[in-house]
């Protein structure tokens, strides 16, 4: 009875402290902004089972990922035993779930074995951290505190597992010594007990009692230590995965507050006071209270594993940006600012902010929005969402951006392209073709409506190198008798670079203008060349009521090849070694990995993969409006890092499928003085050559 009372008291203290912590965190969450409604529960459960319980993303680093998965599954199994211990402790009974019979036996046995597996795995983790220098665990954000925290957590788990093993050994040893019935099966506990042949029942009982109490009290302590540690992810990762953003990685969230303003700008009728009276307190993220609940949940769930930073092209090339730091900074700043806001009111300022005092503009502008960090995170943290919302603050509130991007904004605003070219010249790329490229306005005037709208994009229209790709593609479309038309002079920038550079207003102005034009011509199906245009029209326009079927040219051509309608000659590239660079906005952003490879396969060329390919592919360095600005200071340019990798394959052709990637890789080849031997071609150009067009 005394034992039960002591147990109940310790449980009560545990729950009390835990409730205090949770209450504090909930009050922090109350300061955050809405993110997205939590719908599609079925889909969410699916993702949770796959990513959290299936540990699919942790396996992207296979070796260490395997050990982590073992620890995770071990914890899940052992949790059952811990629950039983709590009920036992309260009720004074022994192994209360024994009524489950064989299932109980199985779970106990699994828990017993997993205790050993977890112990070994965690020992490996700890030794690795203490004696090997793992680059992923270093960085400016990884101070002494982070390292100590990691070590403390691992030692706690070691003690937990050690006490569990001893508890099982004591239990079985005692039962064997007294001949009492054993509830559950404890293969490893048994083995350990067997190591002490001379031990009496009394000694085993003491061993059991001590380890039982240490195990449960350690659990109680651990549960209350976690929320203050990076290891909070033990609790948070499963809910965080369940609450993942379900949109494609490439999609940026729409700012509805800006939509209202832009609609008023485009339709300047009488200004309705109800709208102007209610502008948001702040556009974008400047400080902790500006983040969404999901951003903060991400921050709390992060266990500082550094997978994100280890794949970040900016970080790899020595820039200051580290996605892990962004997330850690948010958590730290919230911890600092939230109590002050709660105490002094929501308008309180402590003269510090997440932007600048924690995260510098230099870090923010180094992001290429390649989404490698988000794709890599084992628990679906979305780092770019925070980075981009901070850029939005800079541009929308302060009008602050790197100079080159300000020019890009002006160009998009004035002439509808990131470069300074006249809209009148938009169709120059199609000059001197053997056939006429059909223009939507002409067809429409003649009462015709083509099946597809072909979206050329600013690079296809103005970039001398990429014009050739646009020309190659229309030759193929012509060859296939595809019924299409282009917008010609009516085409304008989709707004992608503006949005990713934080200028949501300009993005929406462009988007609404494009949607308007497309609707005017009753467009339903769009073929795109540029992956950035593809991503924007497909994923982002629906939020602004622009709903179109968008297909990338590689998908379309692959479809035609599969249907047998596009027969590509294999002579041109037979046996030629080719490596394919995955554009981020086709690959990670939209999951298009197979189509280009299948098309290259049908050319019968010899496809050599780079080490980082498909979802692991390294960015070319140009995404997220980086194309138009100088890179931040670092050791190396991203495009050089990527080109070196491509050249390392020994391939004679580096195939790409994006205008920005093409510029970057071509520059990289020139930088390495290899332009005589190595070609950089778009997949469409290769097909056109193979078709003899």
């Amino acid at each position: 009875m005394v034992k039960q009372l002591i147990f109940a008291a310790s449980l009560l203290i545990t729950l009390g402290v835990f409730a205090y912590t949770m209450n504090r965190l909930i009050s922090f969450f109350r300061l955050t902004k809405p993110a997205f409604p939590v719908r599609d529960i079925g889909k969410r459960i699916g993702i949770m089972l796959k990513v959290a319980f299936g540990q699919t993303k942790i396996f992207r680093f296979p070796v260490i990922g395997f050990f982590h998965a073992l620890v995770f599954w071990g914890f899940c199994i052992i949790l059952f035993g811990s629950l039983e211990m709590v009920v036992d402790g309260l009720s004074g009974k022994e192994k209360i779930f024994k009524f489950l019979g064989p299932l109980h036996d199985f779970i106990m046995a699994a828990g017993d074995i997993f205790a050993l597996i977890v112990l070994i795995s965690v020992l490996i983790f700890l030794l690795r951290r203490l004696f090997f220098s793992v680059r992923r665990f270093e960085g400016v954000e990884m101070g002494k505190r982070s390292h100590t925290d990691a070590a403390v957590s691992l030692v706690l788990i070691l003690l937990l597992m050690g006490s569990l093993i001893l508890m099982n050994a004591g239990y079985t040893g005692y039962k064997h010594a007294t001949g009492e019935e054993i509830f559950g099966v404890y293969p490893f506990g048994n083995l350990i007990a067997g190591l002490f042949p001379g031990m009496t029942a009394g000694s085993f009982s003491i061993m059991y009692e001590i380890s039982w109490w240490s195990h449960i009290l350690l659990i109680f302590f651990f549960a209350n230590y976690l929320p203050y540690s990076k290891h909070f992810h033990v609790f948070m990762s499963i809910p965080n995965v369940f609450l993942s953003r379900l949109d494609p990685l490439g999609k940026m969230s729409n700012m509805d507050s800006i939509s209202r303003e832009v609609k008023m700008m485009l339709d300047p009728g009488p200004v309705t006071p109800s709208v102007t009276d209610d502008p948001p307190e702040r556009f974008g993220i400047k400080d902790a209270e500006d983040v969404s609940w999901k951003n903060y949940l991400d921050a709390l769930s992060c266990t500082e594993c550094g997978r994100c930073t280890s794949v970040c092209p900016a970080n790899i090339t020595g820039k200051k940006l580290s996605p892990r730091k962004v997330v850690m900074d948010l958590r730290a700043r919230m911890k600092e600012k939230a109590p002050l806001l709660l105490k002094n009111g929501k308008d309180f300022s402590d003269g510090s902010s997440l932007l600048r005092n924690y995260i510098s503009e230099e870090e923010l502008w180094a992001c290429t929005t390649c989404n490698a960090c988000a794709a890599e995170c084992p628990i679906n943290i979305n780092h770019p969402a925070i980075i981009l919302d901070m850029r939005r603050y800079l541009v929308l509130e302060e009008g602050s951006a790197p100079g080159e991007l300000k020019s890009v904004f002006s160009n998009i605003e004035n002439n509808g392209a990131p470069w300074q070219y006249s809209p009148e010249d938009r169709l120059n790329w199609a000059r001197d073709l053997e056939f006429e490229v059909p223009v939507m306005a002409d067809l429409f005037a003649a009462g015709k409506k083509p099946k597809y709208l072909l979206w050329i994009g600013c690079a296809g229209a103005y970039d001398d190198r990429y014009k050739k790709v646009a020309r190659a593609l229309v030759k193929i479309l012509n060859h296939l008798n595809i019924d299409y038309a282009v917008l010609g002079k009516e085409e304008t920038c989709t707004g992608d670079p503006a949005r990713r550079a934080g200028n949501e207003m300009l993005f929406q102005m462009q988007a609404l203008q494009v949607i308007d034009t497309l609707k005017k011509y009753e467009v339903s199906d769009i073929i795109t060349i540029c992956p950035h245009c593809f991503n924007t029209i497909r994923n982002e326009y629906p939020d602004l009521d622009g709903h179109f079927e968008v297909i990338n040219y590689l998908q379309l051509l692959n479809l035609f090849t599969k249907e047998g309608k596009l027969k590509i000659g294999t002579e041109a590239f037979m046996g030629l070694s080719v490596t394919y660079h995955d554009p981020c906005y086709l690959g990670r952003a939209n999951g298009i990995y197979d189509e280009p490879r299948e098309l290259l396969g049908s050319l019968s060329c010899d496809l050599i993969e780079m080490k980082r390919n498909r979802s692991f592919a390294l960015c070319c360095g140009a995404g997220g409006a980086q194309m138009f600005k100088e890179a931040e200071k670092g050791d190396k340019e991203v495009f050089i890092e990527r080109t070196e990798e491509a050249l390392g394959t020994g391939a004679g052709v580096i195939a790409t499928a994006c205008p920005f990637c093409m510029t970057m890789i071509t520059d990289g080849i020139k930088y390495k003085n290899r332009e005589e031997e190595i070609k950089n071609l778009d997949v469409a150009e290769m097909i056109a050559v193979a078709l003899g067009l």
């Binding site: 800006i258 303003e261 700008m265 200004v271 102007t276 502008p279 556009f283 541009v395 929308l396 509130e397 302060e398 009008g399 951006a401 100079g403 300000k406 020019s407 904004f409 002006s410 004035n414 002439n415 300074q420 070219y421 006249s422 809209p423 009148e424 949501e504 207003m505």
Partner: protein, 249 residues
């Protein structure tokens, strides 16, 4: 101190210029209008000065001579950060007329610093700034690439042949600014655009003034002919073309 930034409304630099009325004026259909780039830079510098408490600048006003159709450009200047705007309700007939109107504004509103871009990117007259100063009999400083407060006095940097010159002149004065006056044009923030909606644009009727210039005709430069490539192994052909086609040797 009060700054007046004179802004001109010009076609965007990528515009393909077409003429109308017998080649004596620019066809404005479909033209995207922007703030004259030099004026945009001077506005940027004016706002930077206002942000600097040591400059003593209390307000930045923009002025424009033009019809109601140029108000979006004025609104843009307000969105970038000007406090208020004055539009003289008349077509910008020529530099003399425009300068007369702006001089009248300066006289009435008592501005201390008047900033004009060195030229407008459409007609490239480079006249208005100096004319304003002449109308008012106040100093004007040309080729200005910087203005910085030093001990409460605005010190003006001029670009001179092979170097720079720093000068001060008694206020009020006109500075005629060129590139370098600001690093890059300031852009309008969303917040700026929202507040610009309620900022005042004062419309004043023009004072009597004459225009002294009449455009007889405008013409475009001859289109650049295509570039001919000659094989490096064939210098004879190059000489032949330079002699007979280009007629330069």
């Amino acid at each position: 101190m009060k700054i007046l930034v004179c802004i001109s409304n010009v076609p965007d630099t990528t515009t393909k210029i077409k003429f109308s009325e017998g080649d004596s004026s620019i066809d404005t259909t479909g033209v995207q209008w922007v703030i004259n780039p030099w004026d945009e830079l001077s506005l940027t510098r004016a706002l930077e000065l206002k942000d600097d408490p040591s400059s003593g600048i209390k307000s930045v006003t923009v002025a424009h001579v033009g019809p109601v159709s140029s108000e979006p450009t004025i609104r843009k200047a307000l969105a970038i950060g000007a406090d208020d705007a004055i539009r003289v309700n008349a077509g910008a007939a020529d530099a003399y007329f425009v300068a007369a109107q702006l001089a009248e504004l300066v006289k009435k509103e008592q501005f201390d610093i008047i900033m004009c871009g060195i030229e407008s990117s459409d007609h490239n007259g480079s006249e208005v700034g100096a004319m304003i100063a002449e109308f008012l009999n106040i100093p004007s400083v040309s080729a200005v690439s910087g203005i910085t407060p030093e001990n409460g006095i605005p010190v003006i940097t001029r670009e001179i042949d092979g170097g720079r010159e720093k000068v001060t002149v008694p206020a009020p004065f006109v500075i005629i600014v060129q590139k370098g006056i600001a690093k890059e044009p300031r852009i309008a923030s969303m917040r700026g655009i929202m507040t610009a909606r309620t900022k005042p644009i004062k419309v004043v009727e023009p004072v009597a003034g004459e225009s002294l210039t009449q455009i007889i005709s405008l013409e475009k430069p001859a289109p650049r002919s295509a570039c001919k490539f000659i094989d490096a192994d064939n210098p004879a052909q190059l000489i032949e073309l330079l002699k007979n086609e280009a007629k330069v040797i």
